[in-house]
């Protein structure tokens, strides 16, 4: 017995000796982690500073462009020094709202189907389908929109062209589906089974249980999914550019009208723009940035509220 204790003491005294090499390695590894983490932070700061620096330039100094004219103008004509983005803001917001109104119900019901109703064999078809949808490059969505949706709209539209707000909404709806579906499904799956049991035990049908107990319990997750969908829709560029029509002015009055969202304005002209024209494109970026910030802050608010519960 005493021998054992002695031995243990010996062992621990060996362990207590400082291990220099290990300490150094630990420090190096920690530093590597830190540097990796800094890449994102530094990037986001650099982007913000750069975009704001360039984007604020046209509104200050002598020969400044009126910021009010910029934010409220409905014509974008760089050749005549006219830079109005109001009609683009309207286009971006309308396209996003439209996609959310159609996409969220479809996505949520798909998620309910996958999480609550579908037999395994069907889940094995639907889920990979959704995942594949998420992986398709946006330029392909645009090509699909241009090749299929735009001609279809052209047939029924009172306007001469198929490129329209409606086309943008259709393609954005499809593009946000994977985000809505996979996030909603995850939150539905996380709803404790005891809620379902309680509801069924009270004589609720399966459908009543889903709509009155399960979905309300998953509310904050579904809301987060919606907000992320908004973020995706408002930031989408490539697909939208090919089907929006991109007019040089005019607030869209109907879903058949051509639109020019903020994103496509930047993407179309940045490659050849210079001077004030280029700075104005950065200013457009600042507006877009503001929207994304609002979306992100909303998301943080929602998720932190959910955490409190």
């Amino acid at each position: 017995m005493t021998n054992n204790i002695k031995e243990e003491n010996n062992n621990s005294s060996i362990m207590m000796k400082p291990n220099k090499t290990r300490d150094i390695i630990e420090k190096i590894v920690e530093t590597i982690f830190f540097l990796c983490a800094m890449v994102s932070v530094v990037s986001v700061i650099a982007i913000i500073v750069f975009v704001f620096y360039k984007g604020v330039a046209p509104f200050v100094g002598n020969n400044a462009y009126s910021f009010f004219d910029f934010i409220s103008g409905v014509k974008w004509d760089p050749n005549h020094n006219e830079y109005g983005v109001f009609y683009m803001i309207v286009a971006s917001i309308l396209a996003t709202i439209g996609a959310i109104i159609i996409g969220v119900p479809i996505g949520l019901l798909t998620a309910v189907f996958i999480a609550e109703i579908a037999p395994k064999s069907l889940v094995n078809i639907v889920k990979p389908g959704v995942e594949l949808l998420a992986g398709i490059p946006s330029v392909i969505y645009g090509a699909f929109g241009l090749g299929v949706i735009v001609p279809l709209i052209n047939k029924i539209s009172p306007e001469p062209q198929g490129q329209s707000l409606l086309a943008v909404i259709c393609v954005l709806t499809i593009m946000i589906l994977p985000t809505i579906i996979s996030l909603s499904e995850a939150t539905l799956k996380a709803v404790p089974n005891s809620y379902r049991e309680a509801s069924l035990g009270l004589g609720a049908s399966k459908t009543q249980t889903i709509f009155r107990a399960v979905i309300p319990a998953a509310k904050s997750g579904i809301l987060s999914a919606t907000v992320l969908g908004i973020g995706r829709a408002i930031g989408e560029t490539m697909a939208v550019m090919m089907i929006a029509g991109n007019p040089i002015g005019g607030i869209p009055m109907s879903i058949w009208d051509k639109v020019r969202p903020l994103t496509t304005n930047i993407a179309m002209e940045m490659s050849y723009a210079s001077g004030r024209h280029q700075e104005m494109l950065f200013a457009t970026g600042v507006i877009l940035f503001a929207f994304i910030m609002i979306v992100n802050i909303t998301l943080i608010k929602i998720t932190s509220k959910a955490g409190e519960k």
């Binding site: 809620y195 049991e197 309680a198 069924l200 035990g201 009270l202 609720a204 009155r212 519960k309």
Partner: protein
């Protein structure tokens, strides 16, 4: 015995989870307006049997039930809609499971499901149910607060109120106090005794004192069989079967 009304009549009930037989040839008459307790070691089938009574086992994949359960003479696996059955036979679960909504919405959940929309009617049902569950005084000022923000014992009584709001005839309780402290446990027990004036109560419990304190009849389950079933006094004082005696005196389980 002759003047007692049989609420449930169970005849030759077998239950299988895929290939495993969880219940074997159960025969039992359960009386109206009494508390019937099911006792037995873990895995003996008592909870499984409880869940066949309101067909919650239907939700488990691969379950097969043979034999008959009659509720007031009607075969619950053949001649009654499962939704209707569950509103007549309510259930309180092991873990308090209020929905993440307000106390009011929890209790109003069942009535709303069954089509009651009028605020004044709902108000009345909510108050009556919470009073019946002996929790009205504790929560009447915070009906709009989340039902998950109160103590476990209060949550369980809210769940009982939620069950009562549907106006069932039978209340199944699946170890309703196993997650609660002793004081909350006593409150639930007192409540059960009060409720038996109006309801038929069937309670599964691990706690033998609980069974002897509150129940009129006790059934002792072992490996899927009912070993002994009778008046609680008789089961605890003069068990006929050796296995019952061994369990009750704490020799196993």
């Amino acid at each position: 015995m002759s003047n007692e009304v049989s609420k449930f009549s169970v005849q030759e009930l077998d239950l299988y989870y895929s290939n495993f037989q969880a219940l074997k040839k159960i025969n039992m008459e359960i009386q109206e307006k009494e508390i019937t307790a099911f006792i037995g070691p873990s895995g003996c089938g008592k909870s499984t049997f409880l869940k066949t009574i309101n067909r919650m086992n239907d939700l488990v994949e691969g379950v097969k039930v043979d034999g008959k359960i009659y509720l007031d003479g009607v075969d619950i696996y053949k001649d009654i809609d499962v939704i209707k059955l569950r509103s007549r036979v309510g259930m309180v679960f092991q873990q308090p499971n209020p929905f993440p909504m307000s106390i009011y919405d929890n209790v109003a959940y069942g009535p709303r499901i069954h089509g009651i929309k009028k605020k004044s009617v709902l108000d009345e049902i909510v108050e009556k149910s919470l009073r019946q569950a002996a929790i009205w005084d504790e929560v009447k000022d915070k009906l709009k607060k989340s039902a998950r923000a109160v103590s476990g014992g209060q949550q369980q009584r809210i769940c009982i109120a939620r069950t009562l709001a549907v106006e069932p005839e039978v209340i199944l309780m699946d170890e309703p106090t196993s997650a609660l402290d002793p004081i909350s446990t006593l409150k639930i027990e007192d409540l059960a005794v009060e409720l038996k004036e109006q309801y038929t109560i069937i309670i599964v419990t691990h706690n033998m004192q609980q069974a002897s304190r509150i129940s009129d009849k006790t059934a002792f389950f072992l490996t899927g069989e009912v070993i002994e079933y009778g008046k609680t006094e008789q089961i605890f004082n003069t068990p006929k079967n050796k296995k019952t005696e061994d369990y009750i005196t704490g020799r196993f389980g």
